[in-house]
Symmetry: C2
Subunit: 252 residues, 2 copies
């Protein structure tokens, strides 16, 4: 779906270019002159339209995360409504959370894989203003999904669920960032598929493949057997933080 972006507008051109360059180089390594140069606008345009470089980055994310998290909440609303008060299946919850995100990767109007990669790389940036911003943007969504998972997995300690949500976010972030040592893999995958028929788009294929591979992995991790704690026998562990810290390596 060819979307006619109003690229004639200075403001949008800056946002689009900044999104790409921040993804390619990171925030610090991307200068205002690189952005305004590539967008073919005046150097002062960023400060005029957004106020500062930090505010520009925030706006780059806001226009995408707004849509994303809103749709995540709606997806959860829909599921809970059709469940009629009962708990959801973990797979449904993961599909709503991660599927909504990964579907952005297939839609260029929503930023496509460019935004997904930017998001994955920025989530680990240590800059304080970035962390603060993300914390605010994600607060409600994370809380809602955490509650949903608590209800979906009543026998799993809540602390354990939070850890695993943490791990799932990491697996996804890293995978969509796609900067790592295994990068070639995706190339192979896409290459294998390329000659079959009229390809929609390399990034679109990648996004679909990624979703297809990632979701079973996440679900398997989420539902993995719990680590063994030394506890009084027959205890019905609720949320209680386990007392004994095991020195021994986990026997998996």
């Amino acid at each position: 779906m060819s979307e006619q972006k109003t690229n004639s507008d200075t403001r949008d051109r800056i946002l689009d270019v900044a999104e790409r360059l921040f993804m390619e180089n990171g925030y610090e390594a991307t200068s205002m002159r690189m952005i305004t140069g590539a967008a073919e606008v005046n150097l002062a345009a960023v400060n005029y339209h957004f106020g500062s470089k930090e505010a520009l980055l925030r706006e780059v994310f806001r226009r995408r995360l707004g849509w994303l998290n809103q749709n995540r909440l709606q997806a959860l609303d829909r599921l809970e409504e059709q469940a009629g008060g009962g708990p959801l299946k973990p797979s449904q919850i993961l599909e709503a959370f991660f599927g909504t995100l990964l579907r952005m990767g297939e839609d260029k109007a929503l930023g496509g894989m460019t935004f997904l990669r930017l998001l994955g790389r920025t989530l680990t940036e240590p800059a304080e203003f970035i962390r603060t911003f993300f914390a605010g943007e994600y607060a409600e969504v994370i809380d809602r999904y955490k509650q949903a998972l608590y209800r979906a997995l009543p026998d799993v300690p809540q602390a354990e669920i939070v850890w695993r949500l943490h791990f799932m976010l990491g697996a996804m972030s890293y995978a969509i960032a796609g900067t790592d040592v295994l990068r070639v893999v995706t190339g192979v995958e896409v290459g294998d598929l390329a000659g079959e028929r009229p390809v929609p788009d390399d990034d679109t294929i990648l996004a679909r493949r990624l979703a297809q591979r990632l979701m079973p992995f996440l679900l398997g991790g989420l539902r993995a057997p719990l680590p063994q704690f030394d506890e009084p026998a027959g205890s019905q562990k609720k949320e209680l933080p386990t007392k004994a810290a095991r020195e021994s390596r986990t026997q998996i």
Copy 2:
């Protein structure tokens, strides 16, 4: 003969401080003046001892990754020897790969959690010289472990294994980076445990907890049911070795 007398003071102090500051601020946002100032050495000392800022970062990693990947290889050697030519268990492989890393987090002499966090955050940095460096440092280890996993999971398509190795690396990187929206979790965990007895160290506890929680998750993800491919044409996408295509790409 000559000892390492020359590397005694200034050089090591720079490395220690750089490790911490790169972790806290990222590579680009950490200036030479911040490093030399905190290390209480002259500004020119970095260029004298290491040549450049890039070379400094490489050396920060080299002194840790050398130990890490060497021990990873040794651990794998040991397992394969005692298996006498047979395949290893996936849990053994993961323990060797991730356990070796996570044990660094408990040992201050090996960099402790500071280095682990730095590693997790740097793995997603887009700078070319960083990616190139990591690719070289990890090449042998990744290849060896990939082969071990292929043999341990003969019924799983190799491409799928690589994807999941990818996901596992992500879950671990993100978890040890510890910058994300769920950051509070670790604080709660550590706090719950703190008053118990003479605490080894907050970071040590965190490293142990992390290993204990992460390993079952990774194993669950690795062994999750395979995704079903709903390919329109043919659909007998059994995904056997696909020999030619696989060898066509050079591994990292």
